[in-house]
């Protein structure tokens, strides 16, 4: 048997893709999130409806871009939808998104707002955005973290931008919006440990349970003999690579600043410039 060559970013994206299914509107604000949706749609989940931007472009076949999500939607003749459409889909649980928080804790609370106290943060991040809406309505909440460390996987988040498990959830929310999966660079996790705590589902190839525990700022429930995350199939890899002409997955993985400028220059070459729907408005 020939081993399939793949890189860690590709393993993570494919693990994320395998969590998606059914007929949902799938939005993305990051290359990893977008590629996970694309791989799912072109392999096991053809009924997914992908958006080209965080809020529009239904019916498109998007790929991660730096600035061109809206241009893709227009040039592909995607169905234009509104912010209200997106929130209707969230509130009616017909929406999915992979979220990349700065911190996640053992009960699945997530933080993209601030490190340190909210009033005077050590690091002010961006604000809760739409995570409170997701975490009070969706039946599947999906998170990924590319640098699993005691700073990102913590006992308690500094600020709850999204609601995890706990007394507040039991009192106000029930199951709607509860965290279901976490994929990191070390493995795949759920929140099905005691009291809905973080639990390992599978280890990525070459990763040990000791490494997972050491990289986590909270206890992780480790089952005996955890399975290994299945590697990407050739079909999954082919879709993934074909839909990432700028290799933005590698940019998100490595955060290379110089690489962004080169990609920004290159991205124009990957669009159908003469598409009548775009030219019409010139």
């Amino acid at each position: 048997m020939n081993a399939v060559d793949y890189t860690p970013d590709e393993l993570i994206i494919v693990a994320m893709a395998r969590e998606l299914g059914g007929e949902y509107l799938v939005s993305a604000v990051t290359p990893f999130g977008q590629l996970a949706a694309v791989v799912a749609k072109h392999t096991h989940a053809p009924d997914l409806e992908l958006l080209a931007t965080p809020e529009s472009g239904a019916g498109s076949d998007p790929w991660p871009s730096i600035s061109l999500g809206q241009f893709q939607g227009l040039s592909q003749g995607a169905v234009p939808i509104t912010m209200e459409d997106v929130f209707d889909a969230i509130f009616r649980d017909r929406f999915r998104i992979w979220i990349n928080p700065a911190q996640i804790d053992r009960h699945g609370n997530v933080n993209i707002t601030a490190i340190g106290p909210w009033e005077r943060p050590k690091v002010a991040l961006v604000g809760s955005r739409g995570i409170p809406e997701d975490s009070s309505h969706l039946s599947q909440m999906l998170f990924y973290i590319l640098q699993h460390s005691p700073r990102t996987v913590v006992e308690r988040v500094d600020f709850r931008s999204g609601a995890g498990w706990g007394p507040d959830r039991e009192r106000h929310l029930g199951l709607a919006g509860a965290p279901t999966r976490l994929v990191t660079n070390l493995g795949v996790f759920d929140f099905d440990g005691p009291d809905h705590s973080l639990r390992l589902r599978s280890l990525h190839p070459g990763v040990t349970t000791a490494a997972v525990q050491e990289a986590s700022g909270c206890p992780v429930v480790i089952p005996p003999d955890p399975p290994i995350t299945p590697p990407p199939t050739p079909a999954e890899l082919a879709v993934l690579r074909a839909h990432d002409p700028l290799e933005l997955r590698r940019w998100e993985w490595a955060s290379e600043v110089d690489g962004l400028r080169r990609r920004w220059q290159e991205e124009r070459a990957h669009l159908p410039l003469d598409h009548p729907e775009v030219r019409r408005w010139r």
Binding site: F71, P132, R261
Partner: protein, 288 residues
């Protein structure tokens, strides 16, 4: 009907201390010519209301023009954190009120629907409710036992929105994502639209449902080509990475930032376009 005026005249109507909702989203179709003009005219003590805020909020914070920011998000997306927003949050240089994407929509919608608040589940179980004094928890008056968040009406003094095309009566067409702009136009006491190009009313009507802002909501319209620069305006131009790189470098150092602001104050909207290479230069880099 003719509501055409200049961006300078629009901004001249905004007093110190006014509240302003900006359209657009992060690096997309932000009314940047207006933000620059607010700096040029030295406006102070503004309250900014944004759903997905970005460079417009950051520039005005960096110019010391802001008293308070109401926001669901302020950032530069793929380019990272917004430097002056970050600094102002960390040093307490302005007041901040963290909302969420839908609650900003609900707050504007409450004003449009002429009710004092709208209920939602969004925010329950999060710390947004702990830090944002604007919200109230309420019980379902119909007795389901469900607790809800009451989102108060947001009624900005001004809305500023940048669009692709408009006519002289204020009808406006947005060809890419509309973001919160149609809501902002309806909720503000005074709504000003800047556009890439003014077109005759019969041409504007050809855009059909893309003409998502009707003139009854619009008090003034100005033609400002490249008025969203350095953010993008799909499908006409994408965001300008070179201009953002320059901005972020300037923001990292007080002396360079002072020089950057001096330049913002010196350049009229027309001179601004010339500074970035004129229409030909901008098109060469930014047109798709």
């Amino acid at each position: 009907m003719d509501k055409v005026l200049t961006v300078e005249a629009m901004v001249a109507k905004v007093p110190d201390g006014a509240s302003i909702v900006f359209g657009g989203s992060s690096l997309s179709r932000k009314p940047m010519a207006v933000a620059r003009e607010l700096v040029r005219q030295g406006r102070r003590d503004l309250t900014l209301i944004v759903n997905i805020g970005g460079p417009e909020v950051d520039l005005l914070l960096g110019a010391g023009a802001v008293k308070k920011v109401v926001y669901a998000f302020v950032g530069f997306e793929i380019l990272g954190l917004a430097p002056h927003f970050r600094q102002a949050r960390q040093r307490g240089l302005a007041q901040f009120e963290e909302w969420t994407e839908y609650t900003v929509i609900a707050g504007l919608d409450a004003t449009i629907k002429a009710v004092p608040f709208l209920p939602t589940r969004a925010g329950l179980g999060t710390d947004v409710l702990a830090v944002n004094p604007a919200f109230r928890r309420i019980a379902d008056p119909f007795g389901s036992g469900q607790e809800l968040v009451a989102v108060p009406a947001l009624n900005p003094d001004f809305a500023f929105i940048h669009v692709n095309y408009a006519d002289c009566a204020g009808n406006a067409a947005i060809l890419g994502d509309t973001h919160i702009d149609p809501l902002a136009a309806k909720a503000a006491r005074t709504t000003f639209v800047t556009c890439e190009k003014l077109v005759p009313p019969e041409v504007l009507r050809r855009f059909g449902r893309d003409a998502s802002i009707l003139r009854i909501w619009v008090d003034g319209v100005a033609e400002v080509p490249w008025g969203a620069h350095p953010t993008g305006c799909a499908p006409q131009y994408r965001f300008d990475l070179d201009a953002f790189t320059q901005y972020l470098e300037a923001a990292a150092e007080p002396e360079r930032w002072a020089a950057y602001l001096d330049r913002v104050r010196q350049l009229s909207p027309e001179e601004y376009v010339d500074h970035w290479g004129g229409t030909a230069g901008l098109q060469a880099r930014l047109r798709v």
